[in-house]
Subunit: 418 residues, 2 copies
């Protein structure tokens, strides 16, 4: 692998396809909120993104960095009652940047379980403080107020978690190879490959939108779930558009077609098929029971305390805000690699998200007031966390307005070709 | 050298002596404005500072990082007319942090001449934008609104500039050794050593304050300068105090005793004795002519364009805001090392600063309105840049109110012991 070429290509892809950066826009490069910014380890990719952005006409590129080690130091040394503290400057900086119409890239490079030895209560305090402080910013992003995208960079801790059997000096390279393959960076013409793939996703999206399903039914091991869809739900795939009309791709890679569930019409049981890395801890072997849209029972083989805290963040954290369909034939699923990172794992399996719904997954949702959006079935919460439920044993049916039921996915694959 | 011990000791010194951090204070770790934050290379020291701050009761420690490489990428790729752009979030974050009474550490680790190949006009645009944007923040610091300190961390580019003759793999270690020695970290009881040293500086300060000199006269090679002192000037040494009464040490190391000149009463010529690293470029072999407090001529063997731009930043940038006396026997001078970094080089030689005067160098200055401060002789500007003029050939005399003249320094050393 030519790492320099991979970095340069991913940087260009993020700026040209991911953001579709417009000349004169500023670009802010950030990372996961719990980390305070983009990991220092991501510097090689951050620099390629910056160079590509300036070449595309960015007027200013800045990065807000975060250091995982500083986070660990906090958990080791800080007073136990101080984890609700979250300073105002980061949310203000992010909101002001979006309000000015500038572009935003989030780069993930973090260890999936860096906080595995930290007390769950403190992690909960930190997560809640971050979610609350960043709610206004996330709301802006959820309305596609500006062009934004999420990419990933290999980091040592993350690579060690995925490839524990490899010698330490090979783990990072191996993860970059995986990222390059998942992001179609290793072919001769990555940008053109992405245009083809995005067209295919758009075709699937158009088919789903034409169906106007009133609900989806999920059947699989440990899963028997019915998810109602709001009347005006909109299926969305890889490419989105800002209200100003700039087309952008929020996730690179992306393999999903997604929409919003009706927050009050989810019933049954569902079992996760992949672990979830949330706030530096891993939640594994977990399952939910839904009644009237609300989670009434949650269990986990590992990380149950953090999971329960997550669901208790606010009223909307116990309801769903997104459902996404991903075929088992996706490159991420076929790689067989468990990334412990939502950007990749959500593209290996159909999933649901607890927490806030994106307004752009409802027809004309971006211009709706919060109350109208909620009345139409859109969930509101300070959190939005994806949970993988797909596998090659999952069947999904679509329920038509007529009451008829038709197969949508069988054994994890689309029942019909595009 | 035990680098881990040096880092831990410097971190503790910065927090306990430099900041005198108060329990419950938050701490923000920053770097040079031109870089956007603390260099990624400084991470090992930043982490020790954070751990020490939490041990001292900090409620939250955050770092705003900056990456030299991103700055270079900007100069390589960004549109030539974009260098006046400076986003608002950094100045707002800093001002809000200080207004809330939280503590601030600036860590310098930067290459002294990272921008040596960049067009001076663009450097000037960037510097002016940064100075203007950060003026409100610097004004708050200048009034000691909170406890703050400046320390340094070895970086590869900086080390290579100081020790070009050493193999690359030894340069960084050699710079850490020099920092450890200059900062008295290599003895058995560094904190106690600093208390003794600060007491000696305070004794010298008290002597100077008792004198009530009306002016100082400087004589040396290329230097024949008279600097008037305002009636209520106050000499200050290592330790300062916030208006709330927290004693702190703004620079580690510090060897100087300093006060403000009268902005309108500086006349004669002065020649710099060390190069100045300013905004990523080196200015060398430079000299000024003053008339009525204003620089009426400036020349430099290298970097003259950047120097002239600096002086032209605003009206106050062509006048003096600080004068500092440092004996040639100081550890930094005796080391014979030219650090290309003001934090160290200003402690090797007597110096003057063009630009803003610190209000705390006038009796009751912190509570004075800007106009009254200026009328009393205090200079105001968006910049504050130290210029080294001391050497073992410099003589300084003090002019008494009676008109009498007495020797203050001879051949770079104090004429009288403490």
């Amino acid at each position: 692998m030519d790492l320099d070429r991979v970095l340069r290509t991913y940087g260009d892809l993020a700026v040209r396809v991911g953001l579709n950066l417009q000349p004169g826009q500023r670009l802010l490069i950030i990372g996961p909120a719990v980390n305070g910014g983009v990991s220092l380890e991501a510097a090689p990719l951050v620099r390629e993104i910056a160079a590509s952005a300036y070449r595309a006409g960015a007027s200013l590129v800045e990065a807000i960095w975060g250091d995982e080690a500083l986070q660990l130091i906090r958990f080791t040394h800080a007073a136990r009652d101080s984890f609700g503290q979250f300073s105002a400057w980061l949310p203000q900086a992010l909101a002001a940047h979006v309000d000015a119409g500038h572009a935003l890239i989030s780069v993930y490079a973090n260890s999936p379980d860096q906080l595995k030895d930290a007390p769950p209560q403190l992690i909960g305090d930190l997560q809640k403080a971050a979610s609350t402080a960043l709610r206004g910013f996330r709301d802006r992003v959820g309305r596609n107020q500006t062009n934004w995208t999420v990419v990933a960079a290999a980091g040592a801790g993350w690579a060690a978690k995925i490839f524990p059997g490899l010698p330490a000096d090979q783990q990072l390279t191996r993860l970059w190879e995986a990222i390059a393959r998942m992001c179609r960076l290793d072919g001769p013409q990555p940008i053109e490959a992405w245009e083809r793939h995005l067209s295919q996703l758009a075709a699937r999206r158009d088919i789903l939108n034409a169906k106007r399903y009133t609900a989806l039914k999920y059947q699989g091991p440990g899963t028997d779930l019915t998810i109602g869809l709001p009347l005006n739900h909109a299926w969305v795939s890889g490419r989105s558009a800002t209200r100003g009309g700039v087309a952008f791709v929020p996730n690179l890679p992306t393999e999903e077609v997604f929409t919003m569930p009706h927050a009050a019409r989810v019933d049954g049981v569902v079992r996760a098929t992949k672990p979830l890395s949330y706030g530096g801890t891993l939640i594994e072997d977990f399952a939910f029971t839904f009644e009237g849209g609300r989670i009434v029972n949650a269990t986990a083989g590992q990380g149950e305390t953090v999971l329960r805290q997550l669901i208790a963040t606010d009223a909307g954290a116990a309801r769903l805000g997104e459902i996404a369909l991903v075929p088992h034939g996706s490159p991420v699923a076929q790689s067989g690699v468990l990334f412990y990172n939502t950007l990749f794992d959500e593209n290996a399996a159909s999933h649901i998200a607890i927490g806030s719904a994106y307004k752009f997954t409802m027809v004309d949702g971006e211009t709706m007031e919060d109350e109208a959006f909620e009345q139409a079935g859109g969930n509101r919460s300070a959190v939005h966390v994806d949970l993988m439920i797909g596998s090659q044993e999952l069947d999904v049916d679509g329920v038509l307005a007529s009451g008829g039921v038709e197969p949508l996915m069988r054994q994890g694959e689309w029942a019909q070709p595009v």
